[in-house]
């Protein structure tokens, strides 16, 4: 039998300390705030689950959550098919393929607040190229006044910013398909749609699961770009969860409700991501060996 030396556990200690300080302690601080009320001067009073209760009955929070879900849904529904479509039409090899890859990667390299600023200026009716052009077409467009215009601007911005990520991942998936599959499909007289449905899509599924998961989490937590473009307006039309949270925590300095909000926000993302991942991997297993 091998000797067991429990002192080996000491080697894990640095990691434990690191994780404690980087994740556990801050999270517990937030938990601590979420069950207390403060009237300033660092005095705290026990409030139990009061803030959570308030939050669940807060119309403001439900509205923000609704907007958030709608935003993530729209963005995913546009970016995933569009990204796949772009990947299918990218050149397979040679100079043009390299050029495409570089061009596609560019939006991903731009800092978030710069993206916001670019579109903020781009869409302005007085000096922005897009704003002026749309106005010149006779369309009444103004993202600072009209809620729909603001949504369209933000969705288009997000699509511009992030479709590349899906396209690049899908492209990598497509490139890994051996040529023989396409040849066999040709011999079987498969239509273009059948090639996509029965060869390309199944082979891309692994990377698509990752891509969708990443895009869901990111879009659900979006803050910087819409904040720079619309500041959550007009009215509350583009006030997503994170924008609302910052307003609550830093604007109004309501630490207790903001902490409760943070915890719920975190749990929602965790829950949805976990559910999504579990469903996808279970599908995988069902199709695997029995």
């Amino acid at each position: 039998m091998k000797p067991i030396d429990n002192r080996a556990w000491l080697l894990v200690l640095p990691v434990l300390v690191l994780v404690a300080f980087s994740a556990v302690v801050p999270l517990m601080t937030v938990v601590n705030y979420s069950v207390q009320d403060s009237f300033g001067s660092n005095e705290f009073f026990w409030n139990g689950i009061g803030w959570f209760d308030d939050l669940l009955h807060s119309e403001r929070m439900w509205d923000a959550l609704g907007r958030q879900i709608l935003f993530s849904a729209i963005v995913l529904l546009i970016e995933v098919p569009l990204g796949i479509l772009i990947a299918l039409h990218m050149p397979r090899k040679g100079f043009w393929s390299s050029l495409c890859l570089v061009l596609m990667a560019l939006p991903l390299l731009i800092p978030f607040n710069v993206v916001g600023t670019i579109w903020q200026i781009f869409g302005r009716v007085d000096i922005g190229l897009l704003g002026r052009a749309v106005a010149a077409l006779g369309i009444d467009y103004n993202y600072t006044r009209d809620a729909i215009d603001a949504w369209v601007t933000i969705v288009v911005m997000d699509v511009w910013h992030w479709t590349s990520l899906i396209a690049l991942l899908a492209y990598a998936g497509l490139r890994s398909i051996p040529q023989a599959y396409y040849q066999a499909a040709e011999i079987d007289q498969a239509s273009r749609w059948a090639v996509f449905r029965f060869i390309e899509l199944p082979k891309m599924r692994g990377v698509l699961v990752i891509a969708i998961l990443l895009r869901f989490m990111d879009s659900f937590m979006i803050y910087t770009e819409p904040f720079v473009v619309t500041g959550g307006g007009p009215g509350n039309a583009t006030t997503f969860l994170s924008i609302d949270l910052v307003k609550m925590a830093l604007g109004q300095f309501d630490l207790g409700p903001a902490a409760a909000f943070s915890i719920m926000y975190f749990l929602v993302i965790l829950l949805v991501s976990w559910a999504f991942y579990t469903v996808m991997t279970n599908l995988d297993r069902e199709e695997g060996p029995r």
């Binding site: 023989a180 007289q189 498969a190 060869i199 695997g288």
Partner: protein, 359 residues
């Protein structure tokens, strides 16, 4: 089913080939008889897959024509040629069931469902896939997947030819044997024209009734397994086929004698004066060790491979293999070798020269 004719066919992967060496497939004329089982045999990179892909229409040849039963199909797409191809790595549609995989080519061609179901059932029975029909193709073993690829070809009753591109590479040795036997049985039963690409001589010789040997983009010999063994048309064929391969020795040929280092040997036939590089080829099976007659050799080592022993010897600085039949005598004094004159071939610049009957 069809007779496939290749006329002046050649292919280069370059748009503007300069000179013959840039052709992956050198000019070739050949008729593939209807219903025959062929093997395309050659080392990796000799152009056999190129030739196969030209026949299936996945590659358009740089020059020449392809005819199916006399109809020119050079410019016809793969789908219009009505051929089936089985690839080196099993190609199956992962997310579909075995049944749907087999039905796929038929459904794409718009066959009525009842007919599709009947064909799928029949093919599954032939290949022993009946029990896995409702399963998804994804979780199956490599050989089962390869059977599905094969089945997708067989399911179309009217295919002109079935092409195999090293189909047993990823299959376990035991299953290899079984699948090959099954292929032969299917060929006997249905009489499809089959072309089977391989670099494994055992596979080629056991599967095919005619073997096409390729070397550096050129077809060097087409013949029955026996032809290839007894009368190789090129030293490459002699060397490539047989285990160990044919001994090739540089020699000076004069009439019906060949001069080798250490002496002259008789040939079965007489030869006119030859130009170029002359060699003689002798299979290890037709060389004999002797104590008293023949050319002196130095014996390096003896390998016992079970059925017989292989003697690795050295004749004037050139390696020479001799196959010793089971129980054949082998002693320290047996340091001379004789060749069976009837089985000594003469080659000029690599190609076989036919002699005239000895006077």
């Amino acid at each position: 089913m069809a007779r496939i004719t290749l006329r002046n066919l050649a292919h280069s992967y370059l748009a503007q080939p300069r000179g013959e060496e840039e052709f992956a497939l050198k000019e070739l004329d050949h008729d593939w008889a209807d219903g025959e089982a062929y093997a395309l045999l050659g080392a990796s990179g000799c152009g056999k897959t190129t030739l196969l892909n030209i026949i299936s229409g996945l590659i358009r040849p740089s020059q020449g024509r392809i005819l199916f039963d006399g109809h020119d199909v050079t410019d016809a797409p793969t789908a219009a040629r009505n051929i089936a191809q089985v690839f080196q790595f099993p190609v199956v549609y992962d997310t579909l069931t075995v049944r749907d995989n087999l039905a796929f080519p038929l459904r794409n061609r718009g066959l009525p469902p009842a007919q599709v179901a009947a064909r799928v059932q029949a093919v599954a029975r032939m290949l022993g896939l009946e029990e896995s029909l409702p399963r998804r193709a994804r979780g199956l073993t490599a050989d089962a997947k390869q059977k599905i690829s094969l089945g997708r070809g067989m399911v179309r009753q009217d295919v002109n030819a079935i092409l195999f591109d090293e189909p047993l590479t990823v299959i376990d040795p035991q299953m290899k044997w079984e699948l090959r036997t099954q292929l032969k049985a299917l060929h006997r039963e249905f009489g499809h024209t089959m072309i089977y690409v391989t670099h494994d001589q055992t596979e080629a010789l056991t599967f095919a009734s005619r073997v096409v040997v390729m070397h550096e983009g050129r077809v060097v010999q087409i013949g029955t397994p026996q032809d290839l063994f007894e009368r190789p048309a090129h030293t490459f064929v002699g060397y490539f086929i047989g285990s160990p391969g044919m001994n090739v020795l540089p020699a000076r040929v004069e009439g019906d004698r060949a001069h080798l280092p250490g002496g002259a040997i008789p040939l079965g036939r007489g030869y006119a004066p030859l130009s170029g590089r002359t060699e003689i080829g002798i299979r290890p099976e037709f060389a004999r060790l002797s104590a008293t007659e023949g050319l002196p050799v130095a014996i390096r080592r003896v390998e016992d491979v079970g059925r017989h022993r292989i003697v690795r010897a050295d004749l004037g600085g050139r390696p020479l293999d001799i196959v010793l039949p089971e129980g054949g005598p082998l002693g320290p004094d047996m340091t001379r070798v004789t060749f069976d004159p009837a089985h000594v071939g003469v080659f000029a610049d690599g190609w076989r020269v036919e002699g005239e009957a000895a006077r």
